[in-house]
């Protein structure tokens, strides 16, 4: 068994094309996905959201609201004409534009509908969703604050008819200072009632970057499935070349031929995953040293499950071509539903439930547990256990089909 494993590893490393496909292609894809999921640079802070604004009201209230929005660190304002904005949306250069229509100032006093509009490209609804969530809290707060100020001014002027404009300004400034003292300099959420305070339990930090973890784990597992499927197909290559028959002439047990190949596949898979994580550490600063035992267990269980899958595909096929075609379809489907291509957290709930049938899901969630949630070994071992169980089941089925299909044809 060991002889077969060593021979297979030797042949694998002689084959430059196989080595390149196993290591360079996944590294390239991880880099691309890391950029796509915004995982580049774990220490990089989130950039402010770009918000084009058209002020058709051009009143002191609209200017004041825009200035307050501009003062927020999470938003970067860019004023432009309506025609310019519409043109840029059509050309895909901007996501949308916030328009303050004429009558905005007047609407503040009468508590009617505010003439504010967000024009946007429907194809970019996800980006608009993020923008809306930022605007919703802040914009209405500024407007509410302004309306309250107006109401207080009116009330003071009606009640205390002799109040001079200077005195009124002093009173309003004091009220404003008190408001800011209570709610923070940017007018963040009032303590009660007016908005929901969001406090993340797990958030991005120096050693955590969700996009990067998704890119590395998702891509590495998907590419691993591709490489181990070709390792599995190796048994059919041997059958075609006649070397499998010669192996059967030797005193080695037929099942040990299969297990020798699986062992080689496992070693290559563990190496591939380890190289992927090392690359992510060197290139993107992913902290892979948080919990080494958990990471090693997850790497080994993922490698075992994926290798068993590769051997399983080979055992139910009759030619290498069959394995290739089947592997492409099954791996793409599993990767699609398992979260390798699109992060599970942006998928609908039904898809998140279906995902559990995919090996990718268990692998990715396991690596999330280690690098994102930073759970203890006892929690990580559950995901690893599922992967080991999948591996054992696949190996048992593969052994049965190997005896029935491959040995008979050898």
């Amino acid at each position: 068994m060991l002889s077969i494993c060593i021979k297979d590893i030797k042949i694998f490393f002689i084959d430059k094309k196989a080595v390149m496909l196993t290591f360079l292609v996944p590294i390239t894809l991880i880099t691309l996905f890391a950029f796509a999921f915004g995982g580049i640079g774990a220490k990089q802070k989130s950039k402010p959201i770009y918000l084009p604004i058209t002020d058709l009201d051009n009143s002191s209230t609209s200017i004041n609201t825009i200035n307050q929005l501009d003062s927020l660190s999470s938003i970067r304002i860019d004023k432009m004409s309506l025609d310019d904005a519409v043109e840029k949306i059509k050309k895909g250069k901007i996501v949308g534009v916030l328009i303050f229509h004429e009558g905005y100032e007047d609407s503040m006093g009468n508590s009617g509908d505010m003439p504010i509009e967000l024009l946007y490209d429907q194809a970019r609804e996800i980006e608009i969703g993020i923008l809306r969530s930022v605007l919703a809290g802040n914009l209405y707060k500024f407007q509410g604050k302004s309306q309250v100020n107006d109401m207080i001014s009116e009330h003071i002027l009606e009640t205390y008819k002799g109040v001079s404009p200077g005195m009124l300004d002093t009173i309003m400034t004091n009220i404003g200072s008190f408001y800011n003292k209570q709610n923070g300099p940017e007018g963040s959420a009032p303590k009660m009632g007016s908005s929901l305070t969001l406090t993340p339990i797990i958030s991005e930090s120096d050693d955590r970057n969700l996009g990067l973890i998704q890119a590395v784990a998702g891509t590495a597992i998907m590419m691993l499935l591709f490489s181990v499927s070709s390792v599995g197909a190796g048994i059919l290559v041997e059958k075609d070349a006649g070397t499998l028959k010669r192996l059967l002439y030797s005193p080695i047990s037929p099942v040990h031929i299969l297990y020798g190949k699986m062992l080689a596949g496992n070693i290559i898979a563990v190496t591939q995953l380890s190289v992927m994580f090392l690359f992510s550490w060197i290139a993107f600063g992913l902290n892979i040293w948080i919990d080494i035992p958990s990471m090693m267990v997850m790497i080994m269980s993922t490698a075992f499950a994926c290798t068993s899958f590769g051997i399983f595909l080979a055992s139910i096929s009759q030619t290498e071509k069959q394995v290739d075609s089947m592997a492409t379809i099954v791996i793409l489907v599993m990767s699609g539903i398992g979260g390798s291509m699109i992060p599970l957290f942006v998928m609908p709930e039904i898809m998140q439930k279906i995902a559990v049938v995919s090996m990718n899901y268990w692998g990715i969630q396991g690596f999330y547990d280690i690098f994102w949630r930073q759970l203890p070994f006892t929690d990580v071992i559950i995901r690893a256990g599922v992967l080991f169980s999948i591996g054992i089941l696949m190996t048992a089925i593969s052994t049965f089909f190997y005896r029935r299909n491959i040995l008979r044809l050898a």
Binding site: S3, K7, K10, I11, I14, D15, A241, G242, T243, K245, R246, L247, L248, Y249, S250, P251, I252, A410
Partner: protein, 323 residues
């Protein structure tokens, strides 16, 4: 008659392989039908037959890859059914395909195949080196197999079967598709192994190979051994001593020689050439020439040949070996 593990063994003979009543069926096709033979130690035993005759099935059973439906095989006192592992250790198999790893060198291939037999590392190195020397490949030992010619690959293929010093060597058409130089070298190697007392089963459909190498030959057709013996014994079995090979200037009608006129002769026809099989060519030659001339055929050349395995096979089965 003596018995080993219930199998009858001919007396006073050092029997290395004893095959009794071997049957194998693949779905509806009877690949082997009650095959019996025994091979003495140090013999080269030829299995001669056309494609699909049952040669490879016999080799597959003897090499433990396929189980027979019926019958018993004893290899050097080990029953194949009950002691397959022991049988594997005394068997060397040279498969019909070149079963080597192209990406590895000749030496690496031999180390790998030898390693499967748990040969001591230093002994393996020594064996591999001497076998490569025997095969005339010492200077190419560190070259990858995919840089070798077909003949060189065949030689490494044979060397890989000899690493564990087997008592029995099964050679399944080991010279298919190779150049004359490599073929002669392989023949020399086989003769050397023979002189060292190795028992060899040699399957081929090249009669000249069987004639040159084999001590005894069995002719197998449609899963049955139809004749067995030395070349001389086979010639006697077939009752044919000679053949007259005639080339005609034109291709005759396929029914020309089915006429009563030629009913005294065994005839095979291939396009414009005809073989007449006879026990006395001197007596029959003039009769054949006059019959051909009378029936309007023009002879372009004529050759008289001594009976060989081809003619024996033809006489026994009515078909040519390479049909």
């Amino acid at each position: 008659m003596q018995y080993i593990r219930g199998i009858a063994i001919p007396d006073n003979q050092n029997i290395m392989i004893n095959v009794q009543n071997l049957c194998k069926k693949y779905k509806d096709i009877l690949a082997l039908d009650s095959v019996n033979f025994h091979i003495r130690q140090g013999e080269i035993y030829g299995l001669l037959g056309p494609n699909g005759a049952g040669k490879s099935t016999t080799i597959n059973i003897l090499s433990t890859v396929t189980l027979p439906d019926e019958g018993e095989v004893i290899l050097d006192s080990f029953n194949l059914r009950t002691h397959a592992d022991k049988c594997k250790n005394i068997l060397g198999v040279v498969p019909q395909e070149i079963s080597l790893y192209d990406e590895l060198t000749a030496l690496e291939n031999l180390y790998f195949w030898g390693g499967l037999y748990k040969i001591n590392r230093s002994e393996l190195k020594q064996r591999a080196s001497s076998l490569l020397d025997m095969m005339g490949l010492t200077d190419r030992k560190n070259d990858r197999i995919d840089t070798f010619s077909g003949g060189m690959k065949r030689r490494v293929n044979i060397a890989a079967a000899l690493l564990h010093s087997p008592k029995i060597l099964l050679m399944d058409e080991p010279t298919v598709g190779i150049d004359p130089h490599s073929r002669n070298l392989i023949f020399d190697v086989i003769e050397e192994l023979h002189s060292n007392g190795l028992t060899i089963i040699y399957t081929t459909h090249y009669m000249e190979e069987a004639e040159r190498l084999c001590d005894r030959i069995s002719i197998i057709d449609s899963g049955k051994i139809i004749a067995e013996g030395t070349l001389e014994e086979l010639r006697n079995i077939s009752n044919i001593k000679e053949s007259i090979h005639i080339d005609l200037t034109s291709i005759p009608d396929e029914n020309s020689f089915k006429a009563e006129l030629f009913s005294d002769f065994k005839i095979t026809q291939h396009e414009n050439s005809i073989d007449f099989f006879t026990t006395n060519s001197g007596r029959d030659l003039s009769k054949i020439i006059s019959l051909l001339t009378e029936s309007g055929h023009e002879i372009s050349s004529l050759e008289m040949r001594k009976a060989n395995l081809e003619t024996v096979f033809l006489n026994l089965t009515g078909r040519q070996l390479r049909d």
